[in-house]
Amino acid sequence: MRHAFAIARRELRSFFVSPIAYVVVTIFAFLSGAFFSNMLVYYVKQSTIADRQIALVGRSDFQLDVPTMFLGEFFKNESFILLLVLPLLTMGLITDERRKGTLELLLTSPLRPGELVAGKFLGAMAFLSVMLAPTVPLFVFLALGGAWEPGVVLASYIGLLALGGAQIALGLFVSSLCENILISAFGTYGVLLILHFVDTSATIARSIWVDFINFFSFNFHYLNFTRGVLSLGDVIYFATYMALGLFLTQRSIEAIRFKRS
């Protein structure tokens, strides 16, 4: 595993040498902040209206659980941003190594393909963590305001990391298949979008299929985290995708060696 850390460190270093990393982190922080404040203002307004209704007529049309609803919406949006950003992050992971010829260096070094894949994955996960870090102060701010649900926030962050991990692992695999970075990006978008939103098909499916379709959806499992539900099943679900992605990447890298050029 020593080699994996070396590769992860190199990966992270290369990310932060290029301006792309800073742009991505900045935009992610900005969007998160904007969603956060917009939604916070929206729910505060809603609750004000509800309060007024109660004061006037003694009851409200709204069933509000502001902290939970707000957090649910916010983390749902965060998952959409991840869906947009992560394929751009993973598209080059193996594709670039192939293009630059550095894959030849790595595969002629005394390391196992598994260590290479693990290193790549860890590097991208570290980047994801760096990207998520600027959103943490938002919740410090929320906590200062008094009303917040630390359990839901924690579960949601675990959910984001789990979802991001699965997306990275699959993106890594697609990247190992592609010699062209654009194909790698679009391929990853395709795979991830389908897996994310396949639960929308469940709404029109016959009842026996609903659970089956939902089971495959990233979104379906991820939303459980944002509701503050930390179930072993959802964790295993995402862990399985990670393991599958990493395993396939390793096989795929072995296969690259059999190819010409």
Partner: protein, 367 residues
């Protein structure tokens, strides 16, 4: 140090490397010479463990590549055709990374990087981004990368291609300095280069060894000669009949010329083609016309081909025909006729013939 047996690589039905067998002794520099697509890169990739072979064995320092890939890879420094660099890292960062994945222990890592910087003459650019460097420097970074873990074996794939002549000389100089400390396999398609650096040269084409020799013997062998091609017609002697006698007559006529070397006579349906060899600087053409006319023959064509080192090399490696090779010496011609007598038995057994004794392996020399 390096032992390769029956190494074969097939891509689909195409055979890229055809049961190659060779040994490289400790401290020796072996040059791979061949045109692009000859199988040099494929061979090197197999020896370094990047490309899995279709057949055959590779042993480095006593370790079998298949059984102990990690041990073997630790002992090899490899510079692929394009230096495998991360342009966004500085030279030092890059070498540190390579040292780390090549298992240089932490305590020795800094010293190893410093040594590689010094050996590859990279001190002046050590804190520059690799992507900003010139091609020559990038190539040196590639060399630095190959030597940073002080491997006993160095494998360099066309280390000087894509460089300008000045950089080429510098890199060549660097490589010759690495001689002795490392066992080196080096590929190139540049003849003088290999003769400058290598102790022993393999000429390979289409995955097969065409010749093995020391550079001195090889350049002796491949030295330029003058060649004149004469086409003539002998009136009254049309048709294939009695061609043996005719050939003898033509040969003896031309043998009388001053300075002529080997003569090849080839009768066609109604003409005879004669190839005359001579030493460099001897031009036979002025003598040819009077001789032909004096005999009462008709001169159809007269052309001079000067075979340079490169051209001979090209004929050796680029001809579709396996028999294509140097004009045979007398001894070889004898063995060639023997080979003809034995038919298929005289076919070259190229790979098993690597005796280092300076024999050309093409054609029928395998007998």
């Amino acid at each position: 140090m390096i032992s390769v047996q029956q190494l074969t690589k097939k891509f689909g039905r195409q055979v890229a490397v055809d049961s190659l067998t060779f040994e490289v002794q400790k401290g020796e520099v072996l040059g791979f010479l061949g045109p692009n697509g000859a199988g040099k890169t494929t061979t090197m990739r197999m020896v370094t463990g990047y490309l899995p072979p279709s057949g055959g064995r590779v042993r480095i320092d006593g370790y079998d590549l298949y059984d102990h890939p990690i041990e073997v890879k630790r002992r090899i420094g490899y510079l692929p055709e394009n230096p495998p660099v991360y342009p966004e890292l500085t030279v030092r960062q890059y070498l540190e990374f390579v040292a780390e994945i090549k298992d240089v222990p932490v305590s020795r890592r800094k010293a190893a990087v410093d040594r590689a910087l010094e050996r590859a003459q990279l001190q002046e650019v050590r804190d520059k981004r690799v992507g900003k460097l010139s091609k020559g420097f990038k190539q040196r970074v590639g060399l630095g990368q190959a030597i940073v873990h002080e491997p006993p074996v160095l494998i360099l794939d066309e280390p000087t291609s894509s460089l300008d002549p000045k950089q080429r000389v510098e890199v060549r100089h660097l490589i010759s300095q690495l001689k002795g400390e490392h066992t080196v396999i080096l590929s190139t398609h540049i003849l003088p280069e290999v003769s400058e650096i290598a102790d022993r040269v393999f000429i390979i084409n289409r995955g097969r060894v065409m010749a093995v020799d020391s550079p001195a013997n090889l350049s002796d062998r491949l030295r330029a000669r003058e060649m004149v091609t004469v086409q003539l017609r002998i009136p009254g002697r049309v048709g294939p009949g009695d061609s043996g006698k005719l050939c003898e007559e033509v040969r003896s006529a031309f043998a009388a010329l001053q300075g002529v070397g080997d003569i090849t006579v080839q009768p066609d349906d109604d003409a005879v083609t004669v190839k005359l060899e001579s030493a460099v600087g001897v031009d036979l053409r002025p003598e040819v016309a009077p001789l032909v006319v004096g005999r009462g023959w008709q001169l159809l064509g007269l052309a001079a081909d000067s075979l340079s080192l490169e051209q001979i090399f090209l004929t050796l490696v680029s001809d579709e025909n396996e028999e294509a090779r140097l004009p045979p010496s007398r001894a070889e011609r004898a063995s060639a006729s023997l080979a003809e007598a034995f038919g298929e038995g005289g076919k070259p057994r190229t790979t098993s013939q690597v005796d280092g004794g300076g024999k050309l392996m093409g054609g029928s020399a395998g007998l």
